[in-house]
Symmetry: C2
Subunit: 333 residues, 2 copies
DNA sequence: ATTTTATGTGTAACCGGTTACTCATTCGAG
DNA sequence: CTCGAATGAGTAACCGGTTACACATAAAAT
């Protein structure tokens, strides 16, 4: 391995001078700089980040914790984060938590042990001690916490829109999937929907779910139609759940959207290609990741961040799992 | 930050002793060990991996390079890798290459600078100098190279099966998407298909593609039906391409599978829910990732690895984009 | 009883960088 | 012409671990 000493020797200077050239700090004579750069070139030297990190007590690494990249929603978040980080020279240590507290603990510890300068987490446990204790910046992504900055979508509004659209398109006996109780954005969606449902006086049932796992969604979908067979509209907690519901509805021979309308949440790739293509409330996942990275970078650089909570807009994406809206549609904006 | 010195002081021993306890090396008296462990507990100490890594010149980090996790095939590989690595205490530094040589170069350099002990890469440039020069183990994933171990699926066989199945189900004017020329598994699939096509004397056309990007696949799909409008069967280079073809076929009002049969490759999640659900050649992506990690761990541990190339089996997954096979089907297994 | 050998622990060098400090020289202002 | 400031570069301490080496004592072997 080529070290700074080799470079120094090769260039006939001290290691301090090489370091100065590398970091563009202090005074270095133009001629000296050129000699050092030549030596670096010739030896094909790249500084050891580990040694750097040890002395400076910080690295160029960011910890990224997601529940499960196998769920197509998360890779988009991840790409957004990565692309922004890459622009500023940061790299990611990555981990899937599987919604397990222990795994999360382990990963957070790894991040810290490796001198990560920040952690972006889509955690299920934002209030846990191991987050509170962290001395490096933390940004929650697609999650909300009172004690840390966060980037998330406007779930409340999303829930409202979902309810309005599904009611406006004629559903009158609606099932709402609640989503995990301890995940704020999921609860916001739920509450937004319920809010509108109650205001308009439309009948609805609530199906509770404990996780975002596909397996559970499938069970709940079965349960839904078993308990409430005359359901004519479903507001799902996310797209994966909506897919499960759609699947079950079709399996039972129900026509979608004629007999049952379904609205998802997220707008993950490919759902526009399902049959019927799934209507959903879109979250700008890539942008959320990007914004979270941006916020993190500002925190790392010690800038005082005015906006600690960034709420992103959502929008209804009309596709085939909802019916066409009846004529009287005089929109003016 | 709590350091080993703090622990040493707290326990009334030297740092060497603490280190011995931590690493279970050398002689440590039972009583001393307990005292040190108590101190570690009380101070909530975890060793700094960076310092360790600097001295040992190796970390617990593995570099993972994938083209784009936004393509649903890759998260599965990634999960397989991660789950196996996690079992042995390794962590991942992760990067998307976007099929760009420069990005790949940069990430590889980062991995090295951070003392990664190994690199698992789904690279488009397996023969490049920056791979050759690496002194740490490299395992190619879903790629093939003569100078490094690799884990991949049997593309040749996959191509053969695809051709057999689509011919056996009645297609007679077949279009084959070739996939990127420099990616071996893609070429193997192509050759396998062509092999069968030629042997059986069925007419076929070749559509070349330069990348796996969805955008390009969409263009090629248009081109395909524009140039060869009477195509009645398409063997796609992967599922994303197959989706693009499916989409274009439906847009043109062609019935799938009645007028055009389509076979993909990979078996990514959700394609079973498309309409029609996509028939495909399945690669065991998760297992491939897992196996690659396994191989990497053996290499890291310096075990002589007999099997440097691991070829995984593929299988035809029959769904709705291919027709039912004609009656004479007396399967006996 | 004496010599090995095993056990237990501390001191200090080392990993590859960064930077505080020191010293020498040059430059510009008065 | 003198002196303080600016410029340029080297020495060595430091980051937080690991381990070679030294040393002391206890146990086993002769």
């Amino acid at each position: 391995m080529v070290t700074i000493k080799d470079v120094a020797k090769h260039a006939g200077v001290s290691v301090a001078t090489v370091s100065r050239v590398l970091n563009e700090t202090g005074y270095v004579h133009e001629d000296t700089r050129r000699m050092v750069e030549k030596a670096i070139q010739e030896l094909n030297y790249t500084p050891n980040e580990v040694a750097r990190s040890l002395y400076k007590r910080k690295s160029k690494l960011i910890g990224l914790l997601l529940p499960d990249i196998t769920n197509p929603y998360f890779p988009q978040l991840a790409r957004g984060v990565e692309d922004r980080m890459q622009e500023s020279g940061f790299r990611l240590i990555f981990g899937n938590s599987d919604e397990s507290e222990q795994k999360e603990r382990d990963y957070i510890q790894t991040f810290v042990q490796n001198n990560a300068v920040g952690i972006i987490a889509s955690t299920n446990f934002p209030g846990m001690d191991f987050y509170r204790r962290l001395k490096i910046p933390v940004v929650f992504l697609d999650r909300i916490s009172s004690d840390r900055p966060a980037v998330y979508a406007d779930g409340r509004e999303g829930g409202r829109i979902a309810a309005q659209e599904i009611i406006g398109r004629g559903s009158r006996r609606i099932a709402v999937l609640q989503g995990p109780a301890h995940i704020r954005p999921a609860q916001d969606r739920f509450q937004g929907a319920v809010e509108v449902l109650q205001d308009t006086g439309v009948a609805y049932e609530v199906i509770r779910t404990a996780s975002f796992a596909l397996k559970e969604a499938e069970e709940k979908a079965k349960e839904l139609f078993a308990s409430f067979p005359d359901t004519d509209g479903v507001i799902a907690s996310n797209d994966m759940a909506a897919i499960a519901v759609l699947h079950e509805a079709l399996r039972l021979g129900k026509k979608v959207p004629e007999e049952v309308q379904i609205i998802g949440f997220d707008d993950i790739p490919l759902i526009g290609l399902l049959s019927p293509p799934l209507s959903t409330i879109r979250q700008p996942a890539y942008d959320m990741g990007y914004k979270a990275a941006e916020l993190m970078i500002r925190l790392i650089e010690g800038q005082t961040v005015e906006l600690r909570n960034i709420q992103m807009p959502v929008e209804f994406v009309e596709r085939g799992s909802t019916r066409k809206k009846p004529e009287n549609e005089y929109v003016d904006r």
